[in-house]
């Protein structure tokens, strides 16, 4: 094996092992930041040793043993410090050393809980959303700082700083390494789901840059969602989110033309939708509903997406049901954006005039003042009603609002198409 081969192997092992490694260490140290540092140190040792000694038979266990040794040193160091409080703290967490298992495999039983704690910690509300995203990708996705920076089109030092700050905040606020219970669970879980969905959406509709989508981020978010569904199988909204992402991802390849231009849902070639992801999505939706979560925010969105994928042809779409689901969603999670989507569904079910009435009611909505889809939808409805000049003005307004070059170009084309004969 050449050094380059070994490095590729190490990278692959790291991506697989990093979350478990950090989670296991965080349980020993009760400090996620330190755990992440130690895991990184173990990686550095592997990068030095494996090219020389060869890749160990059980690389995961090797990394864990190496990192755990350092963790134990660190705990001893803390204990010897002339700091009675630290000693007391340590005494209160006796499992760190005395109960530390000898084999990494023995950790398997608890690792699920530790991973869950790690996810909740990375998405803890003391952190800003940007920190939560960076920390989640770093610790649960095993992504490197440059990889995260590339995915979000921001400079590397920005991401590095976010991660350092996030770790500092977690330490300063003494955020416990635990799964929230009781009343705390629902809002904390919602925060985790939001982070995952934000990562997905960043990939699905890139908010900036020239690419319409960055599928790798979608895949990462889906992976995180699937992992979470395994860790928290009784939570309906987790399955709801997974269902939503699976179904949306099924259309990933059909929504972009070869030249990179977006293709709207109703114009997509449905034979290119991914049947496997659709099947998985529908199954996840069913689980969410069986668990009593049919009225969950994500489950409702997934149910809407499911209406689209169940229709083999665009004209078969059950728009009445979609409009009803949006009405329910508007009750559960009221937002002007949901209302705008409801308007589109109503326009399809009852005609453009009915839709336009709902859209016009949203014109003064402040939250939508900078939202390009409001004029874009309005333009579409006006166009259908034959009010072409008004439609063109709306599309041009929309084009000026979006930060995505592809989308802007697409909207400008629609503006022109409105008045062409």
């Amino acid at each position: 094996m050449t050094t380059a081969d070994t490095h590729r192997t190490i990278e692959a092992v790291w991506k697989i092992e990093a979350p478990r490694l950090i989670a296991g260490l965080a349980r020993m140290l009760r400090d996620v930041g330190q755990a992440e540092d130690l895991a990184q140190e173990a990686l550095v040792v592997a990068l030095e040793r494996w090219p020389v000694d060869g890749v160990p038979d059980n690389p995961g266990a090797w990394l864990m043993t190496t990192a755990r040794r350092r963790a134990i040193d660190l705990i001893r160091h803390h204990r010897m410090r002339d700091d009675k409080q630290a000693a007391l703290d340590y005494e209160l967490q006796p499992d760190a050393m005395t109960h530390a298992p000898d084999h990494a495999d023995a950790l398997d039983d608890d690792i699920g809980d530790d991973l869950l704690r790690l996810i909740f910690t990375a998405c803890h509300p003391v952190l800003t959303r940007e920190m939560q995203v960076a920390l989640t990708l770093r610790m649960l996705g095993g992504l490197t700082t440059p990889e995260i920076a590339r995915a979000f089109l921001v400079p590397e030092p920005t991401i590095a700083q976010r991660i350092v700050r996030a770790k500092r905040v977690l330490a300063e606020k003494q955020v416990p390494f635990e799964v929230p219970r009781g009343e705390e669970l629902a809002p904390r879980l919602a925060s985790v789901l939001e982070v995952i969905y934000l990562i997905f959406n960043e990939g699905y509709t890139a908010t900036s840059g020239d690419d319409w989508a960055r599928p790798a981020l979608c895949e990462e978010a889906l992976r995180l969602g699937r992992v979470l569904a395994g860790l928290a199988p009784r939570e309906p909204e987790v399955h709801g989110l997974v269902a939503l992402m699976e179904i949306q991802a099924s259309r990933l390849h059909a929504r972009i033309a070869a030249d990179g231009a977006p293709i709207l849902l109703l114009d997509q070639d449905r034979s290119r939708w991914d049947r496997l992801l659709i099947r998985r999505g529908l199954a996840a939706l069913e689980r969410a509903e069986q668990l009593g979560g049919a009225d969950g925010n994500y489950a409702l969105q997934a149910a809407i997406a499911a209406c689209h994928v169940r229709a083999l042809h665009a004209e078969d779409t059950d728009w009445k049901r979609i409009a009803a689901l949006y009405a329910r969603l508007a009750e559960v999670a009221p937002s002007p954006i949901v209302e705008l989507n409801r308007a589109v569904a109503v326009s399809m079910a009852e005609g453009p005039e009915a839709g336009l009435r709902l859209v016009d009611a949203l014109q003064k909505e402040r939250a939508l003042a900078q939202y390009h889809l409001l004029p874009s939808v309005r333009g579409d409805l006006l166009c259908k009603l034959g009010r072409r000049e008004e439609a063109r003005a709306e599309f041009e307004r929309a084009a000026a609002m979006t930060g995505n070059a592809r989308e802007s170009e697409f909207l400008r084309q629609r503006a022109e198409a409105c008045v062409e004969r």
Partner: protein, 139 residues
């Protein structure tokens, strides 16, 4: 990326022997890990080739050939479909699989994804965009 992981047939699999309870449990643990890591999309085992057929195409003729088929090592006995970030990651996972031994080979092949077929889809997609614009203009 997705990877198709093909488990090749063996004398035992071709004889139609079923795995023992212990083997099922061992493979089950491995599969659980794949699910927990968000890697597993699909996993299926196949009946021996004696229950399969081949359909041969020659001009307009279609000939159905009944199994079993001879070249055991080239036959597929089961497969996984995995979602991974690289081939290296898939290789790392398969190395951890239990039960395989005795020179048995597992073949890993990256799935050709839609966007990699871009060149072939170009004219069709261009046409679709053009059609859409046309439709918009007429409305």
């Amino acid at each position: 990326m997705r990877v198709l992981v093909m488990v090749k047939a063996s004398k035992e699999s071709e004889a139609g022997g079923l795995p023992t309870a212990q083997e099922i449990a061992e493979m089950g643990r491995f599969n659980e890990k794949l699910v927990e890591a968000g890697v597993m999309l699909m996993a299926e085992g196949l009946h021996p080739s004696s229950k399969g057929v081949r359909v041969r195409f020659e001009g307009k003729q279609r000939t159905v050939i009944d199994g079993p088929f001879a070249e055991t090592k080239e036959l597929v006995a089961g497969f996984w479909l995995w979602q991974v970030r690289s081939m290296d990651e898939a290789i790392e996972w398969i190395k951890r699989a239990p039960l395989f031994d005795g020179g048995m080979e597992i073949e890993l092949r990256p799935v050709l994804e839609m966007d990699e077929c871009g060149a072939a889809a170009t004219p069709e997609n261009r046409e679709r965009v053009a059609r859409m614009h046309e439709k918009l203009a007429k409305d």
